[in-house]
């Protein structure tokens, strides 16, 4: 049994390192895209359209992963696409986390009417299909990165709210909260200085998961052409183009899909790994 648990922890450790490592690679690509990318991601050259990756016949050196139908370098567009993906992940993820956690903490700690109002809102929100809700919001807000991030915040705050609320409810019953109240802590101080640190691990794990979700939402919206302009490189936009030319140029679909897949998987594995690590039962 002890051995099994040791193996489990080793596997979990490996999982954290692999996913963390990939995310660092993506982060470096996003930060230093102009230095790393071998070509201009927007440069078109119809003479060089649909070149295969370098290891295949008919490839051009300098276009490692081939080109799309307009002759744009796939690798460079993937590297630049990392910028949009990570920007949305961090900004929208963090903002969603702040809004949802604040409401969840308030509902779980103060109970009463706050809890009832927040609970009713969550119920209403749960009745919306998320992707449809996102597309609806983008339709009225207009396309663009700001709209996408706003849409993610508006839709996904419930994910944090529900979990943080129930966690806060649990913590509020604990003895240490009673002691803090007896020691004369105000309610706000009890919440922020005593309960919040205990709920924080859950919030961090959820935040990591949310970043992966934000990446996929952005990809879906660029896939249906509701993200930023189609020229700017996004993984979702590249996938949409690759889906069309799938029988002529599979590499236009496969490489951005691989980047998206690994990034989403890494965020999810990191989130699950963090949750397991913080879970007192496993520790």
């Amino acid at each position: 049994m002890l051995d099994g648990r040791g193996a489990l922890r080793r596997r979990a450790g490996l999982r954290l390192w692999l996913s963390g490592g990939w995310l660092i690679v993506v982060l470096v690509c996003a930060a230093f895209a102009p230095l790393i990318a071998p070509q201009d991601p927007l440069a078109q050259d119809l003479m060089l359209g649909r070149l295969p990756p370098v290891w295949m016949a008919g490839a051009e050196p300098g276009y490692l992963l081939g080109t799309d139908s307009l002759g744009r370098d796939v690798l460079s567009r993937i590297i630049y696409g990392a910028r949009v993906a990570l920007l949305v992940a961090f900004v929208a993820g963090t903002a969603t986390c702040l809004v949802g956690s604040a409401l969840g903490l308030a509902a779980g700690f103060y109970r009463g009417w706050v809890d009832r109002v927040v609970g009713r809102l969550v119920d209403i929100w749960m009745a919306f299909p998320p992707v449809l809700f996102a597309i609806l919001l983008i339709a009225v807000l207009g396309t663009g990165l700001t709209s996408i991030m706003l849409a993610i915040i508006v839709i996904d705050w419930t994910r944090f709210c529900r979990v943080v609320r129930s966690e806060t409810l649990n913590q509020a019953q604990m003895d240490y909260v009673q002691s803090a109240r007896v020691a004369g802590f105000t309610r706000a101080r009890t919440l922020l200085a005593e309960i919040l640190p205990n709920v924080l691990p859950t919030i961090v794990a959820l935040l990591t998961l949310e970043m992966g979700i934000a990446v996929i939402v952005e990809a879906i919206l660029s896939f249906v052409n509701l993200s930023i302009s189609t020229d700017d490189p996004t993984w979702g936009g590249m996938i949409a183009e690759g889906r069309i030319s799938i029988y002529q140029a599979w590499w236009v679909l496969v490489f951005p899909l691989a980047a998206l897949f690994l990034t989403v998987l890494s965020f999810a594995q990191l989130g699950q790994g963090l949750r397991d690590r913080f879970d007192p039962v496993l520790r």
Binding site: G4, R120, L121, D123, I124, M126, A127, F128, P129, P130, V131, L132, F133, I135, L136, L137, I138, A139, V140, L141, G142, G212, I213, I216, A219, I220, F223, V224, N225, L226, I239, R243, I246, Y247, W250, L253, V254, L257, L260, F261, V264, L265, A268, Q269, Q272
Partner: protein, 336 residues
């Protein structure tokens, strides 16, 4: 008595939720910048055109008045007229609903079958390599969303090994004898298995993409409760009677372990239905979700409104049905 009262309370909450959805959809569409008229008119329309359209659609009244009129119409089954097709929204939406329902239910069946198989497999060979394998499969299933599964399936079974169709609901060259939009169901009733095969060939990949994340969740939760149940007294007794382990799991543990999974499946089923929006787009499947995205691209507000409300109704009805069946199946609640 108690059951009846909680039933009524539940119905009231459902009504409040749906009302809330209606308010939000209405307000989002009307209040946010870029009013609907501007979206409808071609560039170069005159002031008079704008005024005429405003009166036509009742947009010269206050928001509250507009909402009251719209809600009254909706309650009478009138969801307005689609701007892009000039047909009644309700008939457009109802025409597409069967395609989405068939896809969702097929996906649900696949998810339950797959989740059940994985859970039983993991329990049968618990604390061995097989269980670890099941856990890894579950972990990946949980981490990868339906959109990505769809793309991976297209690559695998559409391109690398092209066995299934990657777009549409049915091969366009086929003559369809159907009177309803429930193609799959009707093909079975009419014993036209050639058509069933063609339909399934189109539906299997989108359904699988929707099913995989749910299958992983079912497997995880069901395996957990199965593992708790197989050590209880009656399971041990069955084992001493000489029952095979697989039979102990299937006949003794499963009926008792299935309840927590059921609630979960209900909630997750609504997520699955929500997923059809993008999956239908990805596979060019002619359902509600695909129509919703077209409606957004065409700025067809009445149609968008109708589709979102219909989805919300489906979500709340599914949740209600799950709560009811939970109450019926759970002996503790039944006799309360």
């Amino acid at each position: 008595m108690l059951v009846l009262r909680s039933l009524i309370a539940r119905l009231v909450t459902t009504a409040v939720t749906l009302f809330g959805v209606a308010v939000i959809v209405f307000v989002v569409i009307r209040v946010v910048p870029g009013n609907p008229i501007a979206m409808m008119l071609p560039p170069g329309a005159t002031e008079a055109d704008i005024e005429r359209l405003k009166t036509l659609y009742g947009l010269d009244k206050s928001i509250a008045e507009q909402f009251a009129i719209w809600l009254a119409a909706v309650l009478h089954g009138d969801f307005g007229t689609s701007i892009s097709t000039r047909q009644p929204v309700l008939s457009l939406v109802l025409n597409r609903l069967p395609a989405t329902l068939e896809l969702s239910i097929l996906a649900l069946l696949i998810a339950v079958a797959l989740g059940l198989a994985l859970a039983v497999l993991g329990t049968r060979f618990r604390d061995r390599k097989t269980e670890a394998g099941v856990d890894i499969v579950n972990g990946i299933g949980l981490s990868v969303p339906d959109f990505l599964w769809g793309l991976l399936l297209i690559l695998l079974f559409g391109v690398l090994w092209p066995v299934f169709s990657i777009s549409g609901r049915v091969s366009p060259r086929l003559e369809l004898p159907f009177v309803s939009q429930f193609y799959l169901f009707e093909s079975l009733l009419r014993l036209r298995f050639d058509l069933t095969r063609d339909l399934l060939g189109h539906m299997i990949m989108p359904a699988l993409a929707l099913a995989l994340p749910l299958a992983a969740i079912i497997a995880q939760v069901l395996k957990q409760s199965l593992k708790e149940t197989v050590n209880l007294d009656y399971a041990v007794l069955a084992r001493t009677k000489g029952y095979k382990e697989t039979r102990v799991i299937l006949a003794e543990a499963l009926p008792n372990a299935v309840l927590p999974t059921l609630t979960l499946v209900g909630v997750q089923f609504t997520f699955l239905i929500g997923g059809t929006v993008i999956i239908e787009r990805l596979f060019s499947y002619e359902g509600l979700g695909n129509m919703a995205i077209d409606a957004v691209i065409n700025r067809d507000l009445p149609l968008i409104q109708g589709i979102v409300i219909l989805f919300a109704v489906i979500f709340t009805v599914v949740n209600l049905a799950v709560d009811m069946s939970y109450a019926l199946l759970n002996p503790k609640l039944r006799h309360a």
